[in-house]
């Protein structure tokens, strides 16, 4: 296993800058997830690490070695593709064994490694079938088997769960996490799904427009997002963003209830533009209490909670996750309250204060 370091990595296609000056270190044995909306450059970044794309500038270092100029077959990495990319004319056994035979290992060693990988991934019964005779989930496991059998310096995953149905996706997610624990391998995982990112990662890298928006553990990113983009990307329903201003040393919401004083500021600053509050931190209260008021626009019953959408006068629609109880009627006047600790203040450019 090895550490992977990216230094000022950039990639342009013509005049399109897909990856812009990305510097990053993935520690040895870490499970690092690249996440972001489509077109943010996460797949390109992964392919740069794999060597499938040539960097326009910058360096890729694996285990301390600069591999930027090396071909993919010289980097000792393994990659699991979104479409699995299994060789259709070979059996499962031969698919998994292929790379080992490339390395000219003795046949006995090859067989034992293949058998071991098959055991870990529950593929022993399918070793002699061809990919066409397998289900999507089984093919996925063959792809993973092909990757682990080589004992590479690191594993790369390119949206491996996208082609699976929801139930299978959840199960396979757990399997991948287990795999990481048992192998202790460095894994870099690309996805657009924030749930996968939150549940699998030791560290998350949020990308947008080819740049890193924030990196950190799932908790760090969720509890202290560094900017508006990260704040709204993680968490469902999305964090509410309310226009705010500063007055008399306190943070106030535009159009807030008259009796409400405001929130104390975490540190003195004059440039507050918005305050973020997560729906689950909000409470529905009497219209005379709370920070802001509005009329209920929608109330969704989710079983374990109520998702209430409130239309306010000055701050747009606000989502509240309320405890399961009787539904709130359409048009009801309600107040919304939350604590000062639940506030995420953001400056006009979108960065956290």
């Amino acid at each position: 296993m090895a550490e992977i370091r990216l230094e000022h990595l950039s990639k342009s296609f013509g005049d399109q800058n897909v990856v812009q000056d990305v510097s990053l270190t993935v520690a040895d044995g870490e499970f690092c997830v690249f996440v972001g909306p489509s077109g943010c450059g996460k797949s390109t970044l992964l392919r740069l690490i794999a060597g499938l794309e040539e960097a326009t500038s910058g360096h890729v270092l694996i285990g301390g070695n600069d591999v930027t100029q090396r071909e993919p077959y010289d980097r000792q990495l393994s990659m699991v593709f979104q479409s699995y990319a299994l060789y259709p004319h070979m059996t499962v056994r031969d698919n998994i064994a292929f790379a080992l035979r490339t390395a000219k290992m003795p046949e006995a060693v090859v067989n034992s490694k293949v058998a071991e990988a098959a055991r870990i991934l529950h593929l022993t019964d399918y070793l002699d079938r061809k990919p066409a005779a397998l289900s999507g989930g089984q093919r996925q496991r063959v792809a993973i088997g092909r990757a682990i059998v080589r004992e590479p310096l690191a594993f790369l995953f390119d949206e491996p769960l996208s082609n699976l149905d929801a139930a299978l996706r959840a199960d396979t997610r757990v399997e991948i996490a287990q795999l990481h624990r048992s192998l202790g391998a460095t894994m870099i995982y690309v996805t657009h799904d924030q749930v996968e990112a939150m549940t699998l990662a030791d560290r998350i890298v949020v990308l947008r427009g080819g740049r890193i928006m924030q990196t950190g553990t799932p908790r760090e990113l969720y509890e202290k997002p560094a900017n508006v983009f990260v704040a709204q990307f993680l968490g469902s329903p999305r964090m509410n963003l309310l226009p705010a201003y500063q007055q008399d040393g306190l943070m106030k919401i535009v159009g807030q209830v008259n009796g409400f004083a405001g929130f104390s500021m975490p540190q003195p600053s004059t440039d507050i533009a918005r305050i973020g509050v997560r729906p689950e931190d909000c409470r529905l209260v009497d219209p005379t209490e709370g920070c802001i008021t509005g009329k209920v626009q929608a109330c969704e019953y989710h079983g374990s909670n109520l998702h209430v959408v409130v239309a306010t006068r000055d701050t747009g629609t606000v989502s509240v996750l309320a405890p399961p109880g009787p539904s709130v009627g359409f048009g009801t006047e309600v107040g919304i309250a939350w604590s000062a600790q639940a506030c995420h203040p953001f400056a006009s450019q979108g960065d956290r204060l």
Binding site: A50, P72, A85, Y87, P88, H89, A99, T102, A103
Partner: protein, 288 residues
Amino acid sequence: MIKPRRLENAILAGPLVLFLLAVLGFPMILSLIYGFSDTSFQTLSAPRFSGLENFRDVTTDADFWQAAGFSLRFGLLTAALECVFGLALAVYLAPLIQRHGWIVAVLIVPMIVAPAMMGLMYRLVLHEFAGPLPYYLYHWLGWSPSFLGPRNVFATVVAAETLQWTPFAFLLFLTAYQSIPQDMREAASVDGTRPWRLFWKIELPMMMPTVFVAMFIRFIDGFRVFDNVYTLVGAGPGGSTTSMSIYIYETFLRKGEIGKAMAAAILLFVSAFVLLSLAQRMLNRADR
């Protein structure tokens, strides 16, 4: 009362069926009649039934067997050569073609020229006085081979056909090569597979169906060759480049032996049909 649908279907299928009957069906019947009769150009309307006599004439004619042998060797050799060169070119030039598509246009020019014209052009190229090839060979290497002489003529016609039709195989293989999913190559590459092994163990096996199809088509085309061989050398020294088609042509028009020509044509038809059915069955089994 014919149901409207039946009538519609009849109208839709009518043109093709009528066309085939008129232009093919009727001649098929004629050819059967004449194959089993004794006819000459003078007695066209009154063929005299002669049983299997024509077939006997054909199968005892040494020229017929020589032509069959030529067509067989010619077909196999040209198909094999075209496939090897076509495959090599397609695979090797594919990265280049990705960026500069016009390369394909230049390489398929030989296919667009009429084979008959190609044969005539080769006549020019190989001509002792006016042809560039003897000129350069003599000037640079001191060689003066007789391209159309009895020893070299087979090689010459094989070369001419191969050079003209390699682009066809090239095109087939290029398409097959380009349709291999790119992420399969990427997966193999990340796994440590170098280019040669990638080709030999992954890309080529995936292109095998195309290889068979290409070999088969080019063999059939080579087997029934007429145009470029005829315009280049005609029947050839000692009849050595007479293909099956040329044999039938000469028997029919030069010698006027209608019945015999028909018999040969029927034999050719039957063998081609058998070959075709065999190939179809093999393809069907391969599909599964």
